[in-house]
């Protein structure tokens, strides 16, 4: 019996990036949800309980850190692995404090990772979760 597909929620405001990520993930065997801002991402996450969330930081309406803070208040959301995928370096005190507080699985800088690299990270997160 075929294994049930793992669900990845991608929260990203840049449409081209969102699309290429979606394509890559589906090709790699994941089911995806897409959200264009933090608000949408939060409601989708709470509604569908994805296995992994790829989260951008700088977004309209609600930024990634705010969404994550709200997510962590939820019983399910407390434990869901989040991979931050952004082009902002983690160099302000606020960012570092947020990372410590919300415990994302990874903090990746988009320009420094390849698509394959992202897939690898998702798989490693999932494999850890399954154990």
């Amino acid at each position: 019996m075929a294994e049930e597909k793992k669900i990845v929620l991608v929260v990203e405001d840049e449409v081209p990036m969102l699309q290429v990520l979606r394509d890559k993930l589906r090709e790699s065997g994941f089911a995806t949800f897409q959200a264009r801002d933090g608000e949408e991402g939060l409601s989708l996450a709470l509604a569908h309980h994805p296995d992994v969330i790829l989260l951008d930081l700088l977004m309209p309406k609600m930024d990634g850190m705010t969404m994550m803070s709200k997510l962590r208040q939820d019983v399910w959301g407390k434990k869901v692995p989040v991979i931050i995928l952004t082009n902002v370096s983690a160099d302000t005190d606020a960012t570092i404090k947020a990372i410590i507080a919300y415990q994302p699985a990874y903090y990746l800088v988009k320009s420094d990772v390849k698509l394959d690299g992202i897939v690898e990270k998702i798989q490693s997160v999932l494999s850890k979760k399954d154990k």
Partner: protein
């Protein structure tokens, strides 16, 4: 006993023996001579010179000569009387007498200086008289008991004994003592008048006494004017000699039956009268001489002190003038010449105010007028005065009103030049004003404290920044008055404030921007300050703190780093989109691209990745420049850092057939370093080494540790660095020509970043390179590893 005897023998010097012998002979001779004049009793004579000798030698040489006296007296008596027991008794009496006399004189009349004061002359006479009574009592009693004298004429013998002794003592003893204490020196100054005068004196003494005692001239008191004249003109030696001569002549003539004191049929009483006469003469003249000496010495003392005082005034730098009631100068001391240029005689008789500068004349006149009304009053004033060569000088004058003092009858003014003092005082005032202006004008706050932290000085800027008044700060403890907080809002106790460290270490400290000063209204502002110890004779006596409100700087800094961070985000976003899409194109999942197409896409992808690397490098460089990157050393394994970096380069190395040789000791100690920073360094160095190596060569990565610390060497056999480029290689955006040929894509930031990190964390980077042979880069860190560095940004 034995010991005492030895000491006694030790004292038996040759000189002592000689002294004993001389005294013995002198005493015996004088005794024989004296006893040849004994008419009442063979042992009691009206003239007894040995007593004088005995007292004189005991006073001059001390008690130790008593044996000579005893032996002499015994010999004289035993040869006269013939009875040993009696002679011993008399000798004992004589010795005792001399000892008692000498003791009393030493005790009460200043010993051998008895003839320096009239009072002591009297005491000497009294002592001698008392001793003679003792001697006479013992002696006469002995004679009576021995049967050599009868009780009926006890008093006569007793008196004869006393007068004989006192006469001898008063004439002989002063003569010997005075010659004894005056060093016998011959006056070689041939003062003919003085010598002639001396001869005249002795001639008159002899002539007069010869005339008196031969009976030709019955005025026995006539010797007095001559002796008194001698006492005034000469000294005590001449007088005692004269008196001795008179005594000898008097005795001679009286014994031979002439002279004013001769009583027919009673030679003894005659001699008693002579003895009395010469005793009185001697006593009187000694007293006169002593009085004259006292006067002379008093005058001499007075002269010395006057001379001293005069030279003090004349040589003093202070000038003295006396001003009379009409304000005329009646005396001016010689030092006015140095001070004013006028000779004293030029000033005497002139009006004192002529010397005072015009502008000070009124006020000095008023002051003097006030002083004149106050007898004994003293004033001190400063004014300008004009010297002879028309120079204006400042003087300080002390005036004392002694107009009513009959010996002075003037206002005494002493004054000194204070021009220098006045000028330097003005200079100091000026400097002080300048310093104050300087402190006022600087924008930085300044607080000076003593070594306990008590504030001694603040400037206006400090008050303004702290919102406090000077009076709120000065004299208070800085830790209590100006609380300091760290970055976390914790108020620092005094021992944690930078001042404690400065006082302890004695070196200047410049603080990082993590301190805040609190104002009384609880608002605060970030400060950066320089704290410098004040040293006096190598001892720290306080601190000076210069501080600045750096709120603005921090804001600018923040804005700048926010801009950099945002700009890099904005630049990365389109590049990410490009990269990811190219990755998709090249992944063959959408169908295979023709080879040529694939090659073009490959070029685009490469260029885009370069762009990403450039942005990352720029971001790091900007953080380095701001000095805001963080270094948080933890114990890391050098080898694992190197292995991680090497893994990243695996494909490049394999492609170029470069052999990487790791030389790392098996048990290398853990290195205290920030792993990210160490990775950046190794990455840059190794990337350069690979980039500039020739294919099929070797790169050696060598880590070692020694006493000094950790050393990393990365040696390649590449193109090397041209000589003229070597000094620029750590500069930002510099690339050597041969490097550009090989890799046109380099950012020129790699070595700049390496050096910046090494410098900021206590390490050092150096290299050795030969063009076309290769390069070795050497990174050194001390044993303690990287320094911790607080900052706001991580490097990635």
């Amino acid at each position: 006993m034995k010991k005492n005897l030895l000491l006694y023998l030790k004292d038996f010097t040759f000189r002592y023996l000689a002294l004993l012998i001389i005294v013995f002979f002198a005493y015996t001779f004088a005794g024989k001579l004296g006893l040849s004049l004994a008419f009442i009793n063979a042992s009691s004579t009206a003239i007894w010179p040995p007593t004088g000798i005995a007292i004189a030698v005991l006073i001059l040489f001390g008690r130790k000569v008593w044996p000579s006296i005893f032996l002499g007296a015994f010999l004289v008596n035993v040869t006269t009387q013939g009875n040993i027991a009696t002679s011993i008794g008399i000798a004992l009496g004589n010795t005792l007498e001399a000892l008692v006399a000498a003791y009393l004189v030493n005790r009460f009349a200043h010993g051998k200086n008895a003839f320096d004061h009239a009072v002591d002359v009297s005491k000497f006479t009294g002592s001698v008289l008392f001793a003679a009574m003792v001697s006479a009592t013992i002696g006469v009693t002995t004679l009576i008991f021995g049967g050599y004298a009868s009780l009926s004429n006890f008093w006569q013998v007793w008196f004869t004994w006393i007068f004989g002794d006192v006469g001898g003592a008063l004439i002989i003893a002063p003569f010997i003592i005075i010659f004894g204490i005056h060093k016998m020196r011959i006056h070689l100054q041939l003062n003919l008048v003085k010598i002639a005068e001396l001869f005249l004196f002795f001639f008159l003494v002899i002539l007069t006494s010869q005339s008196i005692f031969s009976g030709n001239f019955p005025f026995d008191y006539f010797v007095y004017p001559i002796l008194v004249w001698g006492a005034f003109r000469f000294g005590r030696r001449e007088i005692t000699t004269g008196v001795l001569l008179i005594a000898l002549i008097a005795v001679w003539y009286t014994v031979h039956g002439t002279g004013p004191f001769f009583l027919p049929h009673d030679v003894n009483r005659s001699l008693l009268r002579v003895a009395f006469y010469v005793s009185v003469t001697s006593f009187s003249l000694l007293a006169i001489c002593a009085a004259l000496l006292e006067r002379k010495q008093a005058r001499k003392g007075l002269e010395v002190s006057e001379k001293r005082f005069r030279s003090l005034i004349e040589k003093s730098f202070d000038a003295f003038v006396l001003i009379d009631a009409a304000s005329r100068i009646s005396y001016a001391s010689p030092s006015v010449k140095q001070l004013l240029g006028y000779a004293p005689e030029e000033l005497v008789g002139t009006v004192g105010f002529n010397l005072v500068a015009q502008e000070d004349r009124n006020f000095t006149m008023k002051e003097l007028a006030k002083l004149v009304l106050k007898p004994g009053g003293v004033i001190t004033i400063e004014y300008r005065t004009i010297t002879k060569d028309k120079k204006v000088i400042w003087v300080e004058a002390v005036g004392t009103n002694l107009l009513l003092d009959p010996t002075v009858a003037a206002v005494v003014v002493n004054f000194r030049d204070i021009t220098e003092k006045k000028l330097s005082r003005e200079r100091i005032e000026k400097e002080k004003v300048e310093d104050e202006a300087l402190l006022k004008s600087i924008g930085e706050g300044m607080i000076a404290t003593d070594d306990t932290g008590k504030i001694t000085l603040v400037n206006d800027a400090a008050c303004e920044m702290l919102h406090m008044k000077k009076s709120d700060l000065i004299g208070k403890n800085i830790a209590e008055t100006v609380p300091m907080q760290d970055g976390e809002g914790r108020t620092l106790p005094p021992e944690e404030r930078p001042m404690a460290k400065v006082l302890e270490v004695g070196k200047t400290i410049v603080t990082s921007p993590h301190n805040y000063y609190m104002r009384p209204d609880k608002s605060k502002f970030p400060v950066r300050f320089t704290l410098t110890p004040i040293k006096l004779n190598n001892k720290i006596v306080g601190t000076i703190e210069i501080f600045r409100d750096i709120t603005k700087e921090i804001e600018v800094d923040k804005a700048k780093s926010e801009f950099v961070s945002l700009a890099s985000h904005q630049l990365r976003t389109p590049l990410t989109t490009i990269n990811w899409h190219i990755e998709r194109l090249m992944a063959n999942e959408l169908g295979k691209m023709p080879a040529k197409q694939k090659e073009y896409v490959q070029v685009i992808y490469h260029a885009s990745l370069r762009m990403v690397a450039l942005i990352n490098a720029l971001l790091n460089a900007s953080r380095l420049e701001l000095g805001t990157f963080i270094a948080e050393p933890t114990a890391v394994s050098y080898e694992s850092v190197i292995d991680a970096v090497v893994a990243d380069f695996k494909s490049d190395v394999q492609r170029r057939k470069i052999k990487l040789v790791k030389k790392i000791p098996a048990h290398l100690a853990k290195f205290s370093a920030d792993p990210r920073l160490l990775t950046i360094i190794v990455q840059n160095l190794l990337s350069n080494a690979i980039k500039y190596s020739k294919d099929n060569t070797e790169i050696v990565i060598h880590v070692s540790s020694d006493e000094k610390g950790f050393v990393l060497e990365i040696m390649d056999h590449g193109v090397g660095i041209p000589k003229d480029a070597q000094k620029h290689i750590f500069s930002k955006m510099f690339r050597a020509d041969n490097a550009k040929e090989i890799d046109r894509d380099g950012t020129g930031l790699g070595l700049y970043i390496v050096k910046s990190i090494a410098d900021a964390t206590g390490g050092s980077i150096s290299f050795a390179s030969v063009e076309k042979k290769g390069t070795t880069f050497t990174l050194r860190y001390p044993k303690t590893g990287m320094q911790r560095k607080a900052g706001t940004k991580e490097l990635r």
